[in-house]
C-alpha cells in the first residue's frame, strides 16, 4: 500500500498541475506547475519527503524509458525531419558545446570571485 499511497500523492499534485495549466493561459506544461507545487510543499514542511520518496525515486529512475515512445514517434515525422537534418545536427553540436563552456566558465569564475571576497573579510 505504501507505493500506492505515494503514487496517490504524486498523481494528485500532477492533477493540480494539470488544472493550473488549464486555467492559466501561459506556455507552462502541467508537469512544471506540479514540480513547483511539490517543491513548495516540501520546503514549507506541508509534505514530508518520506511521504513520496520511494515512488518518486522509482519514477526518476525509469525516466529514460519514458522517452522511448516519443523517440519512436520520429518514424511519423521523418518526412519533416529529413530536409532539415544537416542544419539540425550543426545547431545541436554547436549549441551544446557553447552552453557547456559558457555555463561552466561563468559558474567557475563567480565561485572564485566570491571565495576571494570571503577570503578578504
Amino acid at each position: 500500500m505504501k507505493y500506492l499511497k505515494q503514487l496517490a500523492i504524486i498523481l494528485s499534485i500532477t492533477l493540480i498541475g494539470e488544472i493550473l495549466h488549464h486555467l492559466i493561459p501561459l506556455p507552462v506544461p502541467a508537469g512544471i506547475y506540479g514540480l513547483v507545487l511539490l517543491f513548495v510543499a516540501l520546503m514549507t514542511g506541508l509534505l514530508k519527503p518520506e511521504a513520496i520518496r520511494d515512488t518518486a525515486k522509482f519514477l526518476l529512475e525509469i525516466m529514460p524509458i519514458l522517452f522511448v515512445p516519443a523517440g519512436v514517434g520520429l518514424l511519423s515525422t521523418w518526412p519533416q525531419l529529413k530536409p532539415i537534418l544537416v542544419p539540425l545536427l550543426v545547431i545541436i553540436v554547436v549549441s551544446t558545446i557553447v552552453v557547456m563552456v559558457v555555463s561552466g566558465r561563468v559558474t567557475q569564475l563567480l565561485l572564485k570571485l566570491f571565495r576571494k571576497e570571503k577570503g578578504h573579510e
Partner: protein
Amino acid sequence: MNDFFITSLFFGGASCLITYQLGIYIQKKLKSKLFSPQVFSMAVIILFLLLFDVEYETFDAGAKYVSYLLTPATVCLALPLYEQFQILKKNALAILAGILSGTLISAVTILLLSMLFGLSHQEYVTLLPKSITTAIGMGVSEELGGIVSITVASIVITGNLGNVIGPMVCKLFGIHEPIAKGIAMGTSSHVMGTSKAMEMGEAEGALGSLSIAVAGLITVIVAAVFAGLY
C-alpha cells in the same frame, strides 16, 4: 500479423521495456559510454515497425501508457531539488548565474543558427528546448507549436553528445571546479549529461540534477520570450 498488433494493447509497452533492458545488457557487455540503451530501444522499435509495416499509431496505442508516467516523473524532479537545496543556497548566486547564462546562450545560439540556415518558425521553436530534460522540453515545444517528436530527437541527440564529449570539453576549456562541471553537464545536456557528471563525483552529480530542474524552469520562460523573436 499486423492484424494482431493493431488489436494488441501490450505490444507497445512491452516492446519499450524489453528493448531497453536489452540495451542495458549490451551496454554492460560493451562497457562503452558511447552506447545509449535509450537510443538503442528507439532504433530497434523503429526498425521493427518498418520491417513489419506496423503504423506508429498502432504502437502508440500501447506505448502511451509508458509516456503517461512522464508528467508525474517530472513533478518528482522537485525531490532532488529539495534534497540539494543546501548546496544551492550556499552558492546560490554563482550557480544561478551559471545556469541562467547557459540557458540564455543556448537560446541565442539557436536563434542565430536558425536564422543562418533559414529555418521556419516551427523548426526554430522545435529546437529551442533542446538542452533541457525531455519531460519539460516536450511540453515547451508543444506549447510553442513545435514538432514534439523532433524536439525529443534533438534532446536525445544533445544528451548523448553531452554525455560523450562533456569530460573532454571541460578539460579543454579549463572547467575543473566540481560545482562548475556539474552545472555545465546538467545545463547543456540534462539527464544524460548528469549521469556522466555522477561518474565524475558526488558534487558534480548533485549540481547536475539541480541544473536539470532549474535550467528546465528557466527555459520555459526564456523559450517563450525567444519564440517571439524569429
